[in-house]
Symmetry: C2
Subunit: 116 residues, 2 copies
DNA sequence: CTTATAAATGAACAGGTGTTCATATGTTTC
DNA sequence: GAAACATATGAACACCTGTTCATTTATAAG
């Protein structure tokens, strides 16, 4: 079985070594990928976009997205686990809100790329 | 089959209507989710991170990530399709580079969230 | 033209993900 | 306590995604 990597004659060992040393820790890159994975679903993006205007209960979100309540709940659970949203109970309703404004900033940067 | 949405008594119709009207077009949110989906993979994140220091050939990337050439090539194809990287041939090698600096900016915002 | 190397491509396979359905939990009202 | 409503949860299912293997294309050198 071959190594499936380039031979010494191909790779620019110097450059590669420098890049590797300057790259963030791999754990951090994994965390970053995990964050984007959380943002990489249209339902979750729509939820976060809706919440950027203020807190909403599950019921509101379900109606705003025209989606079933369980689907929304499942996604909210994931978003809460990723600390992107926080929840607060008031009577029968549970209100969700963005946990901080980082998401909004990331969205803005994302739109900038799309609109290029 | 029930509607699986809240009844009129629950939803704050006013608020929901306002949120829906202020939300970006759904197509745009789909595009945004698509962008994050592209960033939501550790291999692609590592590739983009490596390229943030300058252009590299497939072989270099393969070595820098300690991954097989085909795996890297497949991901580069996707990244190119998403216009996140561009490629340039020089002899036997193909060099890849970030297509613009939006990715770097998005990464920065992402790290800010992680480091909170 | 033949050989060697870098990169790309397609098929196949395993693992992960989002929705739905059924059901449970929590809260209010009667 | 029972009924009604909002939300959460677990199982099942179909779909998507990333890697590997085998092969092909592209370029350079002998």
């Amino acid at each position: 079985m071959t190594q499936d990597v380039c031979q010494d004659s191909c790779a620019h060992k110097e450059t590669v070594a420098q890049v590797v040393s300057r790259m963030p820790a791999i754990d951090k890159l994994y965390d970053l990928a995990e964050l984007f994975k959380m943002l990489g679903d249209s339902t979750r993006v729509r939820i976060l976009s809706a919440l950027s205007f203020g807190e909403l209960c599950v019921c509101d979100l379900s109606e705003a997205l025209s989606m079933g309540q369980t689907a929304v709940s499942h996604q909210l659970r994931l978003l809460r686990g990723a600390r992107l949203v926080r929840s607060r109970r008031e009577g029968k309703n549970v209100y969700y809100a963005l946990d901080d404004d980082h998401v909004t900033q990331i969205f803005t940067k994302g739109f900038e790329h799309i609109d290029e």
